[in-house]
């Protein structure tokens, strides 16, 4: 995916993760910046469905030709779905980080954590610094 983009309808975490919050559920993934810094992703290891994730801690791993990196949870909750397509074709994380390259869906234990996340402008400001 050639050009950077940071959609306005997402909330962002400083470890370069995003959350799309819909009521008390959310979808998580990594940002355009994260996939660009990683380089071509060759492996995505999602957590197990039903496992608990904790805000600010690692819940999945992505491996690129450069390195293996942890993926941090922007919010807390229980994993209800993982993206099997991204597991099968990890290049989706590069080509569509906000779309087909999503990582997990989560039932949020504390939806108000979303207030602590950054909006698109604040996240882009963080990148600029």
């Amino acid at each position: 995916m050639a050009d950077p983009s940071y959609p306005d309808d997402l909330r962002y975490h400083a470890e370069h993760d995003w959350a799309r919050i819909e009521g008390d559920t959310a979808t998580f993934g990594v940002t355009w910046y994260a996939q660009d810094a990683l380089g071509e992703v060759v492996f995505f290891e999602p957590p197990e469905i039903g496992s608990q994730v904790q805000k600010d801690t690692a819940y999945a791993e992505v491996e690129s030709v450069k390195a293996v990196s942890d993926v941090y949870a922007p919010m807390s909750g229980e994993i209800t779905e993982v993206n099997a397509a991204a597991q099968e074709s990890p290049e989706l994380i590069n080509s569509a980080p906000y779309g087909e390259g999503w990582m997990v869906k989560v039932k949020l234990s504390n939806p108000s954590e979303g207030d602590e996340l950054l909006d698109s402008d604040a996240y882009q400001q963080l990148l600029a610094d």
């Binding site: 810094a37 491996e63 030709v65 450069k66 390195a67």
Partner: protein, 528 residues
């Protein structure tokens, strides 16, 4: 100045046709095999023959012959010579692979290691008949103890990572002996890359410590994370940014006060030998990479050696056996000597030991080379080697600050470096569309081995350069000129670097496909 240094012309900027070496597809030794062909013949046996079945139980005998390559001697020689010519090695050119200390391997080390008494010694030899070898190992232990500033040494670990694992097993034994159960190991994000892996392998939990804006350990973060669960801090100093942490005394006292042990990763010892000692900084356990700091052929996966030096409080737990020296006055019995002679021995009676870390005593040839290196340089020489390593790195860094490298690949943390430094090619990526990967590949066309790339992870588009003390100024100049030339090419046409290399035995490999769809087996015709 010509970046090739030795009068060659600049490399091609595209490749219409394959070079002769690229056309010559390297075949495996199995593909060269012709049934019945042999490299030699044996004369008829002049002793009675015994059928194999009488010597080996039937269930252990092969059902069919092993599929070994059948080739003549000249074919074997040509096969391996051809392969070796496709390799890039230190004897061919500059190899500034950061953190790997690719210094020249003095030939005198090889001569000494090849002496029959060293090279042909059987590892199962009884200690009483291997006194010279044990004496060498003991003297090497004393030398390493002096360099580390820690009194006790074990030569058993056979790699840096093996030394790290030994260090954490010793840490656990130390805490368990005191009746404590600690679960966490602190590793700064500038630690050597194997540290977090070692922590996980040893069954501990990794706790990352952040860096401050000078590239050192963030003391506030360290204070917040060092607690009664902290088993150990693993630190590399100078760290993987090539920066010496000036807060080292404060760092070690914070962890010591929290009750943890202090592990010093010796990967970067080449920067400080003879100037400061990990033991004096407050560390309990240090590993040496004999194959880096003390010059061994390395880079192909071994053999190496990762001895450890430890403080008094760790000593009771050292692996068995320990190489020891028995003085003439000691009583006979238990392997002792009553004949007025100094004797060397392997000591197994160590009740609190973590046990054995490997079979036999280690890679003895590596010990011989390291000891030859230490003796031939002497204390002053080792000190000067470190000084020159740091000087070479700072000279090269000063050259690279000029011109295009300073503009497109500036130093990541702008401080005086130690024996290595880390550049960030993030501006080259943004402004020229050429990544670190592309620059590294293009360097191959200029006959230089690339630096370590994409490490440490905290630096975007990292290039970690370690020139070592054995490189001439002209070589460093040539490398600086080559980087500048590559960036000049990229200003004109980024495709040159993006499609590089052009003249290597193989062109750019598809790393993504190799990772996503690895082919890990080659089927032999007969098995297909």
């Amino acid at each position: 100045m010509n970046p090739l240094g030795d009068g060659g012309s600049p490399p091609p900027t595209s490749a219409e046709e394959e070079t002769p070496m690229q056309r010559d597809r390297a075949r495996t030794i199995f593909e060269r095999s012709v049934p019945g062909r042999r490299a030699g013949t044996l004369p008829a046996a002049d002793v009675p023959e015994t059928p194999l079945e009488d010597l080996i139980p039937a269930k252990l005998l092969r059902g069919r012959p092993a599929e070994l390559p059948e080739v003549s001697e000249p074919e074997i020689v040509r096969h391996y010579t051809r392969i070796s010519r496709r390799n890039f090695d230190l004897d061919r050119g500059f190899y500034p692979l950061g953190s790997c200390t690719m210094k020249h391997n003095p030939r005198v080390n090889e001569r000494v290691a090849a002496l029959p008494g060293h090279a042909r010694l059987h590892p199962g030899q009884d200690p009483s008949r291997a006194q010279g070898a044990l004496e060498l190992m003991w003297l090497l232990q004393r030398s390493l103890a002096e360099i580390a500033g820690l009194p006790h040494v074990s030569l058993q670990p056979s790699a840096g990572s093996h030394g790290e694992l030994a260090g954490l097993l010793l840490t656990r034994a130390y805490h368990v002996d005191r009746g404590e159960r600690r679960t966490k190991v602190l590793t700064p994000d500038t630690a050597h890359g194997t540290n977090p892996a070692t922590v996980t392998m040893a069954g501990y939990e990794v706790v990352k410590v952040a860096s401050n804006d000078r590239g050192g350990v963030d003391l506030d973060d360290l204070r917040a994370k060092a607690d009664e669960q902290t088993a150990c801090l693993m630190l590399t100093n100078p760290n993987t940014l090539g920066l010496f942490d000036e807060n080292i005394a404060e760092i070690t006292s914070i962890v010591r006060d929290a009750g943890g042990t202090l592990y010093y990763d010796g990967a970067n010892l080449n920067a400080i030998m003879g100037h400061t000692r990990p033991g004096d900084m407050g560390f309990d356990i240090v590993h040496f990479n004999l194959h880096k700091t003390f010059s061994q052929p390395h880079g192909g996966g071994g053999p190496g050696a990762g001895p450890i030096a430890v403080a008094d409080r760790i000593e009771p737990f050292l692996p068995v056996p320990q190489v020891i020296r028995r003085e003439p006055g000691e009583a006979a019995g238990a392997g002792g000597n009553g004949d007025g002679q100094i004797r060397y021995d392997l000591e197994y009676d160590r009740p609190r030991s973590i046990g054995r870390l490997r079979g036999f005593q280690g890679n003895f040839g590596v010990f011989v080379r390291a000891y030859a290196y230490i003796l031939s340089l002497g204390g002053d020489g080792l000190t000067e080697a470190s000084e020159t390593a740091v000087l070479n790195a700072n000279y090269l860094l000063a050259r690279l600050r000029e011109g295009r490298t300073g503009r497109y690949a500036p130093i990541a943390f702008d401080r005086r470096c130690m024996h290595e430094f880390v550049l960030s090619a993030a501006p080259a990526k943004q402004q020229l569309g050429v990544k670190t990967q592309d620059i590294a590949k293009r360097l191959l066309d200029y006959s230089f081995h690339p630096p370590t790339v994409y490490f440490p992870l905290l630096v975007d588009e990292a290039m970690m350069v370690e020139p070592t003390e054995t490189e001439a100024r002209e070589t460093l100049d040539g490398f600086a000129e080559a980087l500048d030339a590559i960036l000049a090419e990229a200003e004109q046409d980024p495709e040159v670097a993006r499609n590089a290399p052009y003249v290597t035995p193989v062109r750019r490999l598809d790393e993504v496909a190799a990772n996503r769809k690895p082919v890990v087996r080659q089927l032999l015709d007969s098995a297909a």
